[in-house]
């Protein structure tokens, strides 16, 4: 028995820096998370990622899996890279259904009995003192037992986790409940993380939204995310547009941000587009730089669709180009978050950020960031600010 083990007290990081920052270091302990959707989504990746992050940071994570055989679950968790199996503890709910012996220390032996299920989970919690608990998933129980009984078990698990100072995380897709039941469930938790999945153009896109219950709680926008082998969950922007007037330094910005970039240019002027793949601060983004000249506007219009956010690059020494910059912004649409990059800000005669905001008549909440793309100055800050604006944590 690991008697020395004790639930940790610091906040529970998600491993997504931009989100952890907004949560002031992670989820508080104790607390209850509801991972919710009413259509099929990839919420399990969040649950797995959360458990793995705990195990990686030296805590114990308890993962109760009603769907997967433990061999399969452990196999799938390998996608996250090496994790100490003693830190990631499974409660096996499937072996008994197949009349097979369980390879795990903790297992639910009678899946038709809610009391047995409760006892097995609570026993594992008592013995292992996990800092994080993931229940995958509540719809399994909701579809098999009377609603009131499941809600009672739900509350009991929350209480047990609370008493142990752990973060407990319930996956739940709603197949059968009415809105008022959902309200009741939301009222039992501190955070609701909603999930969405859409298939557009044959590509599955996932996003999530964090809402802390209560008036003054954290509320983010929809955060697009992706899974990366051996890393886990990352915030993923499929399209960030870098635009601005001719010769403002857009291609240089794309290069400065990107690990790899491609430019389709002629004698140094972009004639089709620049492309770069960016990986900074746990954020992955595909960056598309448009040409600045008006005659290439048709290309601009192709890229302006389904844009997450815009980096508007202007040459701070060229006030005469500001109207053109403003016009390019209009092409994207006013609802897309954007940051203005006052590039070449090191050159003599460069306008101050406040001057640019005034001359362009920008709304107050639009940041103007001075940059020197050739020296990679200010560029990453601008991207981070944009990312925070898109996901609503700024």
């Amino acid at each position: 028995m690991p008697a020395a083990a004790r639930a940790p007290t610091e906040r529970a990081k998600t491993g997504i820096p931009i989100l952890d920052q907004r949560l002031e270091g992670g989820f508080p302990r104790p607390c209850t998370l509801l991972l919710f959707s009413d259509k099929p989504t990839e919420k399990r990746i969040f649950g797995e990622n959360f458990a793995v992050q705990g195990a990686r940071s030296g805590e114990r994570s308890l993962y109760v899996d009603f769907f997967r055989a433990p061999q399969l679950a452990r196999g799938e968790l390998k996608r996250f890279g090496p994790v100490d199996p003693a830190k990631l503890i499974l409660v096996d709910a499937t072996s008994s259904q197949l009349l097979l012996p369980s390879p795990e220390r903790y297992h639910i032996d009678d899946i038709s009995n809610l009391e047995t299920i409760r006892e097995a989970i609570v026993a594992a919690m008592r013995a292992e003192k996990p800092g994080r608990i993931v229940i995958d998933s509540m719809e399994f129980l909701m579809d098999r037992f009377p609603k009131e009984d499941v809600l009672r078990l739900w509350r009991e698990l929350i209480q047990a986790a609370h008493a142990a100072g752990a973060v407990i995380c319930f996956l739940f897709i709603n197949w059968t409940l009415a809105e008022q039941d959902l309200q009741q469930i939301r009222s039992m938790v501190e955070f609701v993380i909603e999930f969405q999945s859409s298939l557009r153009g044959g590509i599955v896109r996932n996003s999530m939204r964090v809402s802390q219950m209560g008036e003054a709680g954290v509320k983010t926008n929809w955060i697009p995310y992706a899974f990366k082998d051996l890393i886990g969950l990352t915030v993923y922007f499929p399209r960030i547009l870098v635009t601005g007037p001719f010769n403002a330094g857009k291609s240089t910005i794309v290069r400065a941000l990107s690990e790899k970039s491609v430019s389709i240019d002629r004698m140094g002027t972009t004639v089709a587009f620049d492309y770069g793949n960016v990986n900074v601060f746990g954020i992955e983004a595909e960056i598309f730089g448009t040409p600045g000249q008006e005659r290439f506007e048709f290309i601009f219009k192709i890229f302006a669709r389904e844009v997450s956010g815009v980096l508007l690059v202007i040459d701070a020494t060229r006030p005469d180009e500001l109207p053109r910059a403003k016009q390019m912004l209009d092409l994207v649409g006013s609802r897309i978050p954007y940051v203005v990059l006052a590039n070449k800000s090191d050159l003599p005669g460069a306008l101050a950020a406040s001057d640019i905001a005034r001359r362009m008549d920008l709304p107050e909440d639009v940041p103007v960031v001075p940059t020197v793309a050739t020296e990679d100055r200010g560029v990453r800050d601008a991207l981070l600010i944009l990312a925070e604006m898109i996901i609503g944590v700024r």
Binding site: F67, A69, D143, W175
Partner: protein
Amino acid sequence: MEERFPTNYSVLLAGPPGVGKFEYLLARIREDLRLGEKVAFVTLDMSPADIRSRAKALHIDLSAHEGKSFVFVDCYSATSSDRPEPPTGKKTFLVSSFSNLEGIGMAMGKAGQELGTPVRIYFYTISTLFLHNSSQAIAKFFQIITSRAKSNLGFILYAVHEGVHETMTMNLLRSLVDGVIEMRFTDSMDREIRVHHMRGYTVDATWRRFSQLPEAVVNL
């Protein structure tokens, strides 16, 4: 005259066990693959290996298409107590459990992403889900998956066993799809098929005999 089912369309194939629904599916799949379509087979009742070998017996070489224009969404292997299938090197989308409706939905989307849409999905059988989930949950799943298949993925055909579900359930499933094809045994144990209805098409709903592989059963 044989035409394909349209894309952005859903069909329910209903008939008693043993009437030949599986053979019918294979015939459709053969035709789809011949025409260069992409096909996903969602299996709940048989292992991919069984399906490959039964297809082979009907001179359909699925493994030649696998990973390119054909994939399995395998909801069977993870819950069979048999040893898991040895890796074939072909990409299969494994679903952990019949109860994991969400997982089935996501795996179908991923199969579509892997192959490239539009994809033609064959679901064999929806009946098996009823052994593991409530009718209410399945109804919502069925409705979501059907609309996803129609709006984003392409085409879906579900096989359902007649005579094992309540009338209400069957009527609900029938009401959620665009078309219904029925199969039956006659008194002399001959097998017959008819197109009950197809939304947007006029159909001749008379019963016709079919033997092994019906090449010209459905006139759309």
